[in-house]
């Protein structure tokens, strides 16, 4: 076996992007992609707290079949807030704006993104949208469910639908501009020698995600505008009494909504490739297959939206096409899982937190993805639609998948971002808590869905109580698992041991520069001559 050179006494560089300039102006008017990543990190953590608090209150309420704490009117606002915040203000941004912003220029050998000022503007737009949205929550909230179905949201709801949709509309433009920025950056700013097939797989995933950003988000923008129009002027676009079609809304919404969930998972899959490569010190098995799978997932994701609408009275034949394509989109995801597993074979598997999060992802995403097949298949979807089975499925992929990837990535690149190490023992413990808590929260929900408990219910029949209590117990463990990293990351930023440029002995341009990096990333533009994850000469070539 060959070895990497690990530094024994690392030191902090004298000048780096964090101390190159001081004062609030240097942060709020920065165009450095790395500082913008921190601006996003702080904002989205705040939004995560709001979304997490709503979830905590929901699970507390569901301990009692008749509702422990809230009347249905309030409970309905909680689950709507939870969904809207987590999707539009946390998950959509999480990996792209924090890890993507920080890493994309560095990983491709560039000094910054293509449009740094646009990047900062994206953050301000996000903050404006989030502020308006939070104000709409504080002044009464919304109770339509995150899917805003008509005619409930346009004609019958008496809550802050208008201000909430304005907030989301604005925040959506932040994502569009970020996606545009990343596409141009990846196309035009790669260092000499950095061909497409030498790119880290995280870049492939972020590229695919960015394409979905620019094509899907405008559709939700116009759809939200139509809701606002309808709400203010009652003109009948979605009102059957005036000739409108409420199902038109669902087509428009899910045409965005389905690609949106791939916006949420593709970046995480990209992170997992990096975690597994670094955690096994091995080239990702089947690199080009994993790269192409990201692109095909993005492409097919635009053609499956009708699988959310099998029961709306949509044409059965259209449904068959949507169902078939939904099965097709599962295949590239399966290919990734198999390739990551194969990478671990004869690797050098680390037990550090990033690799543990990756292992957790591989298992949980497998379950989440396979339970998606129950819903892609029309026959079984009839009984499971709008039950807790669906809730369990999407939390397995969103939390067991996307959030595990986000946390794993934060841990892997924390030393690069701050120059310091987090406490490994606490990180492993928190990862274990998250894994156990997560499964206890959402595992029972598969059963709840099968036995018929509908989603978005504030009260439920007594025979479902035990499963609900198990789920709520799991949620309390999960919550602790999320709070612990918050504490030790803050500690680490202030007092953690110095990391050095490459504490993991990993491959990738980001590990060749100092931790924290200088403002312009590279002293000299790198010339790339080797493949991604070039840990060593290819020895065991099979097949």
């Amino acid at each position: 076996m060959s070895t990497v050179a690990l530094e024994t006494t690392p030191t902090l560089p004298e000048v780096h992007y964090l101390n190159a300039d001081y004062g609030w102006r240097s942060w709020l008017f920065t165009t450095d992609h790395k500082r913008i990543a921190w601006l996003y990190l702080i904002s989205i953590t705040f939004m995560f707290a709001i979304g997490g608090l709503s979830a905590t209150l929901m699970r507390l309420n569901l301990i009692e079949p008749s509702g422990l704490l809230f009347e249905p009117a309030s409970y309905n606002k909680l689950f709507t807030a939870h969904g809207l915040v987590m999707i539009f203000f946390f998950l959509t941004q999480s990996i792209p704006t924090v890890l993507g912003n920080f890493l994309i220029p560095i990983m491709i050998g560039a000094r910054d993104v293509a449009f740094p000022k646009l990047n900062l503007l994206s953050w301000y737009i996000y903050v404006l949208g989030a502020t308006i949205f939070v104000l709409s929550l504080l002044t009464g909230g919304v109770d339509t469910g995150w899917t805003l179905y008509t005619p409930l949201s346009t004609t019958y709801a008496n809550t802050n639908v208008l201000s909430a949709t304005v907030g989301i509309f604005i925040a959506g433009f932040s994502s569009i501009l970020t996606g545009l920025n990343f596409i141009v950056t990846i196309h035009k700013m790669r260092a000499p020698g950095m061909t497409w097939f030498r790119l880290p797989l995280f870049i492939w995933s972020m590229y695919a995600t960015s394409v979905i950003f620019v094509l899907a988000m405008p559709v939700i923008a116009i759809t939200l505008a139509l809701i606002a129009l309808e709400r203010v002027w009652h003109v009948g676009i979605f009102d059957p009494g005036l000739g409108g079609d409420p199902i038109l809304f669902q087509h428009l919404f899910w045409f965005f909504g389905h690609p949106e969930v791939y916006i949420l998972i593709l970046p995480s899959m990209g992170v997992i490739s990096e975690l597994v490569a670094a955690g096994c010190r091995k080239r990702i098995f089947g690199y080009s297959f994993v790269a192409f799978s990201s692109v095909s997932i993005a492409a097919i994701s635009f053609m499956v939206w009708g699988h959310h609408m099998f029961l709306t009275g949509q044409s059965v034949y259209a449904g068959l096409v949507f169902s078939a394509l939904s099965f097709a989109v599962a295949i590239p995801s399966a290919v990734k899982i198999f390739n990551w597993t194969a990478t671990m074979h004869k690797g050098s598997v680390s037990y550090d937190a990033p690799m543990l999060y990756a292992i957790g992802f591989i298992g949980l995403f497998t379950i989440g993805g396979l339970t998606g097949l129950f819903l892609a298949s029309m026959g079984t979807d009839v009984h499971l639609h709008d039950t807790y089975f669906v809730v369990a499925h999407f939390h397995y992929v969103m939390v067991g998948g996307a959030i595990m990837g986000y946390l794993g990535g934060l841990h892997l690149w924390w030393p690069k971002m701050t120059g310091r190490l987090y406490p490994e023992a606490w990180a492993r413990f928190a990862c274990l808590l998250v894994f156990v808590g997560f499964n206890l929260t959402f595992g029972p929900q598969f059963i709840l869905g099968y036995v018929g408990m509908p989603r978005r219910y504030a009260v439920y029949p007594a025979e479902f109580q035990v499963l609900n209590v198990l789920s709520s117990a799991g949620a309390s463990i999960l919550a602790v698992g999320y709070v612990i990293p918050l504490i030790y990351f803050i500690w680490s930023a202030l007092k953690g041991p110095i990391a050095g440029p490459n504490p993991w002995g990993a491959k990738g341009l980001e590990w060749t520069i100092a931790s924290p990096p200088p403002t312009h990333n590279f002293e000299r533009t790198p010339i790339v001559t080797e493949e991604a994850y070039a840990y060593g000469p290819e020895e065991a070539h099979v097949g």
């Binding site: 220029p105 141009v184 094509l215 405008p218 559709v219 003109v235 009948g236 676009i237 079609d245």
Partner: protein, 229 residues
């Protein structure tokens, strides 16, 4: 000032050279136009559905629009795209005076479009009681036309919602375009454009042509349904 006059260009620090910056800026505008296609796309999708369901109402509504205005706008925008393209050429040939003339012509036509639409066409629609949500109550000749096509009043209202939405969003984009032209005119006066940043004119040109093309689709879809007797 003299540096620009001699053709020196400003390359932002994230770029290696002017070529890379030019390609990135132009590519960025193309991607932005792709997002705009999807943005308008939602409205076209809703329009297609309701036109299919309520063809009589859409035909009636279309006959209530003032086709003379629509045709005039089409002429105006096509001419403005011509002057814009000539402006791009002038900037590439380093001719600031020609560029200024063409930009001003384009500006005038764009501003005229917005002004005439709001002051005359839309105000006229308002006076005739054709604005859903505000005062939708067609009467007199408008009502005769609706009855002639056996259209249902709420469905004609749907037509008008899409009419105002689609042309309204388009008009907003025209206003933004006029703003971009204003900025270009200022930069031209400051000598920042013909020096070497001619791709800014090309990029605004791309945007302008796109907004023009959207109108080319809107005109027949809204104003020309069912022909004219």
């Amino acid at each position: 000032m003299s540096a620009e006059a001699h053709g020196a260009t400003l390359v932002a620090e994230q770029f290696d050279d002017f070529e890379q910056q030019k390609h990135a800026d132009t590519f960025g505008m193309w991607i932005f136009l792709a997002t705009e296609v999807l943005f308008f796309g939602g409205l076209f999708c809703g329009y297609s559905l309701y036109r299919n369901l309520y063809f009589e109402a859409f035909t009636a509504g279309s006959h209530l629009l003032k086709i003379e205005y629509g045709a005039f706008y089409t002429l105006l925008l096509i001419c403005s795209s011509l002057t814009m393209a000539l402006g791009v050429r002038a900037s590439m040939l380093r001719r600031p005076t020609s560029l200024t003339v063409y930009l001003i012509l384009t500006w005038i036509m764009g501003a005229a479009f917005v002004y005439i639409k709001l002051r005359y066409e839309w105000y006229g629609d308002y006076l005739e009681g054709l604005v859903p949500g505000l005062n939708f109550a067609p009467h007199g000749e408008s009502l005769e036309i609706i009855n002639r096509f056996h259209a249902t009043l709420p469905h004609v209202g749907l037509f008008f919602i899409f009419y105002f939405c689609m042309t309204g969003v388009h008009a907003l984009h025209m206003v933004v375009g006029v703003g971009l032209l204003t900025t270009l005119l200022i930069f031209t006066r400051q000598g920042k454009v013909t020096g070497g940043n001619y791709n800014w004119v090309e990029i605004v040109g791309l945007y302008w042509h796109f907004v023009d093309i959207v109108w080319i689709f809107l005109f027949p879809l809204l104003y020309l349904i069912g022909g004219r007797y």
